[in-house]
């Protein structure tokens, strides 16, 4: 067998996280500022003529710009500029110590706790939760006699006390990633736990850890300054806190001394928080947002097409179809700035009482077509057509409110995933009543009675009980019945069902198809059925339209099309249907048989 490469390779590349971070002016500004400050700190021995602790009586409270004292002297006659640069180093050392300790404790334990058995997880979580209840700042003050005022030791304790926040973050991320199938696949491949953690789990949790570390650095710098301001910590090492405290004593006489350390502190501590924010935005913004300029500014422009003006469409040829589509096009703006067309000019008619199947594979544009009729496409979608009428009313022009009312009165929609279309926190009955009153009005009592009748009508055995149930208490098939009940409440002329049975088991699927068929006959509705399953079409549809890449390649009576397909693609699709009377007949391939045995998939 020569193996073809049938599927097109999707080449969607997102700009990487770093690129996106560079697009955020706030983050870039913060990074530049922080980098500059760090460089200043590292160059301290070169830049400042004095040692930060050297004091001279001449320089006591010297004004800004005194020769050799760029920012003046403090109350002890020390060079403020020299002390400022030394404080930057203290702050950075504090941040690095605090963050490093928090990460070194939090990450390994978080990884183990998230990945291990529940019992280990509970023990670790309990210990770290306990640690989290300790008041960090108070403990640091109490521990002062032990630390002896060393900033590094104090920040190490700080890191230890903040490790639970890292632990909890990592653990929760790991628990989420652990359920991914590729982790199971790695286990089956025989990878050791350590290797799985390193290769598969750590990369997935890396981003959020970096963000939190950045925030934590900002906090560490602020906490260190706070402690020093309170006088906790050695006097030999200059820091923003001790500088602020010195300046504070002079606040009324030389207020400018107060300015320098506070500005630096704000830049460093705020900068890290802003970088963290930028990183978070860069990681979370993974969408391919269309360029804003492309979005048409007024709603009229969305439908600006060159087409003949016409009133309520009433053509001379026989009864006008309920739904009439001529040359429908749906397109979306792309990041490149062009419009990408997903429906390329399709035409179809659906008569009153008819059942039309719209069949195609994923990405063929069948759902886009159905959603265009329902008016459910997103804002940026551009819908154009030569003719697009429902019961003689144009769906492309006219007041948005009128169109909405028209659709509500004539159309009904049954979705693919029944469960995700029911709100989990309201009872089935409440949701039905809300829908009924929105479309038909009436009192609550009337709506309730109608809802119960409808539930009985769609074959629910105990309507009162289902009415009281929450969505999680009913099965998928039951949920689909409920949605169908809601859909037929207003007596629609056209029911649009988008893969209504795809998420259901075959035995349930058969029941739902029976229900749809009965309702269609009893209420003489039209049905537009979107599906990829030829069996579903065979069960329900008179007419069928085969879609591929946004075009209808062939349409007509299904009976005819199944037997005498003309288009190559239709033939290919029908050929790919696994035959009902085909089963495997070739013998089991054991080594007793030669390679490429004669056996085949026969009839």
């Amino acid at each position: 067998m020569s193996v073809l490469i049938p599927d097109s390779v999707e080449n969607i590349r997102r700009p990487n996280v770093f690129r996106r971070l560079l697009g955020n002016p706030m983050a870039v500004g913060s990074m530049v500022l922080i980098a500059a400050v760090i460089v200043l700190g590292l160059l301290a021995p070169v830049l400042s003529p004095h040692s930060p602790n050297f004091s001279s009586l001449d320089a006591v409270n010297a004004p800004v710009g005194t020769p050799g004292y760029l920012l003046g002297g403090d109350s002890s006659g020390r060079d403020i500029f020299a002390r400022l640069l030394a404080s930057v180093n203290t702050a950075m050392l504090s941040a690095i110590t605090g963050v490093a300790v928090a990460l070194l404790i939090g990450i390994p334990f978080g990884l183990i706790s998230g990945y291990a058995k529940p019992r280990t997880d509970s023990v670790f979580s309990w210990v770290f939760n306990l640690l989290m209840t300790f008041p960090a700042l108070v403990l640091l003050i109490v521990a002062f006699p032990i630390t002896g005022g060393s900033y590094v030791v104090m920040m190490a304790i700080f890191g230890f006390l903040f490790s639970p926040s890292i632990f909890r973050l990592v653990r929760n991320l790991v628990v989420a990633v652990k359920r991914e199938l590729y982790i199971d696949a790695a286990r089956v491949s025989g990878l050791s736990t350590a290797r799985i953690l390193r290769r598969h789990i750590l990369p997935a949790v890396r981003g959020p850890i970096v963000i939190t570390a950045s925030f934590l650095a900002g906090v560490a710098i602020a906490v260190q300054a706070g402690l020093a301001f309170l006088g906790l910590g050695t006097n030999d090492v200059p820091s923003f806190g001790s500088m602020t405290a010195d300046a504070f004593a002079n606040l009324y006489v030389y207020p400018i001394q107060f300015l320098w350390p506070t500005i630096m502190l704000a830049i460093l501590s705020g900068g890290f928080v802003l970088i963290g924010n930028g990183l978070r935005d860069a990681l979370e913004d993974s969408s391919l947002a269309p360029t804003k300029a492309l979005r048409p500014s007024n709603p009229e422009a969305r439908h600006a097409t060159a087409r003949a003006p016409h009133g309520p469409a009433q053509t001379s040829e026989g009864p006008s179809p309920l739904l009439r589509i001529r040359n429908l096009r749906v397109s979306y703006p792309t990041t490149g700035g062009q419009m990408k067309q997903v429906v390329n000019g399709i035409s179809l008619d659906l008569n009153a009482g008819g059942v039309l199947g719209l069949i195609g594979e994923s990405g063929s544009g069948k759902t886009q077509t159905a959603f265009a009729v329902l008016g459910l496409l997103t804002q940026e979608a551009r819908v154009e057509a030569d003719e697009f009428t429902l019961d003689g009313h144009d769906l492309l022009s006219g007041d948005a409110g009128d169109l909405k009312r028209l659709r509500t009165s004539l159309l009904a929609y049954v979705p693919q995933e029944p469960m995700s279309n029911l709100a989990p926190s309201f009872t089935v009955g409440a949701q039905l009543v809300e829908g009924i009153r929105a479309t038909k009005g009436g009192t609550k009592r009337e709506a309730r009675q109608l809802a119960l009748d409808l539930l009985r009508r769609v074959g629910i055995v105990d309507p009162a009980r289902t009415y009281r149930s929450y969505p999680h208490e009913i099965s998928g098939g039951m949920a689909q019945r409920v949605l169908i009940a809601g859909a037929i409440a207003a007596g629609p002329r056209l029911l649009i069902a988008d893969e209504p049975t795809t998420a259901l088991d075959v035995t349930v699927q058969a029941e739902i198809l029976d229900l749809l068929r009965n309702l269609q006959t009893d209420l003489s509705m039209s049905v537009l059925l979107v599906t990829h399953n030829f069996g579903v079409v065979a069960d329900l549809c008179d007419e069928v339209a085969v879609m591929r890449s946004g075009e209808i390649v062939e349409a007509g009576s299904y009976r005819n099309l199944y037997r005498h397909a003309e288009h190559v693609y239709t033939k290919q699709l029908i050929g790919a249907i696994l035959d009902e009377d085909t089963y495997r007949t070739d013998p089991v391939a054991t080594s007793a048989y030669p390679d490429h045995s004669e056996g085949s998939v026969g009839r």
Binding site: D7, E180, A185, V188, A510, H532, F534, G535, Y583, A589
Partner: protein, 274 residues
Amino acid sequence: MTTLLAVRDLKVQYPGKGFRQPPSEVLHGVSLTIAAGETLGLVGESGSGKTTLGRAVLGLVETSGGSIEFNGQPIQDLSARYRRKLAKDIQVVFQDPYTSLNPALLVSDILSEPLLAQGRSRQDAAASVAGLLDRVGLPKDAGNRYAREFSGGQRQRVAIARALAIAPKLIVCDEAVSALDLVTQARVLDLLIEIQRETKVAYLFISHDLTVVRHISHRVAVMYRGDIVETGTARDVTTSPSNPYTQQLLLAAPVADPAEQTKRRHARIALRTS
């Protein structure tokens, strides 16, 4: 024919949801065998326990009773170390090719990983990648791309290549073609059959779709609520089933032929009302 896998009276329980809730049993004593080079189709609806059975064979869930033997050796509840050794014999292809491949890894890394885990050298593993890609009909340069750049069908080919990497004797295919389009599904099934003829690998092919199972399986087992209700050759089970549930399942699946489908629907409604 030599028996490769023998599952006897297998029971699996999941722990209760709340505090002190009794565990719920999802497999109530299931038995089946797979011969070397054979495909056993396991069909059932959601919640029937078919996926759990597959995961028990793979060692991804703990068993609570019965035995699983591979080549005559019991393999249930092995220690992690022995389980890793077994990886060279039992592999898996999952349903969802979107989550079963790590989006952050290159295809060549995904394919060489199982080889490295078996202690093969890096050069050796890299050399095998091209052959594996060719084996599943992907272009050679596919190795330098990320799995997320491929379509569903191509990703499933990558997943099959990963399973084949260390030449296993059994591959558990858990709904391996269910997420694929019709045409792609037929091609992947053909690929699996072709690989089986060449490598003599056995499949435990789990699916909810009787049509797919019939196409690839030598024998078929039908699961219903944690029990196997019927086992037999693909022809017997899928044309003249003896179990009422299997009959229902068979008639419920709609067929593409409109005349045949009308007949089938009437037969199903008759069976239900009788």
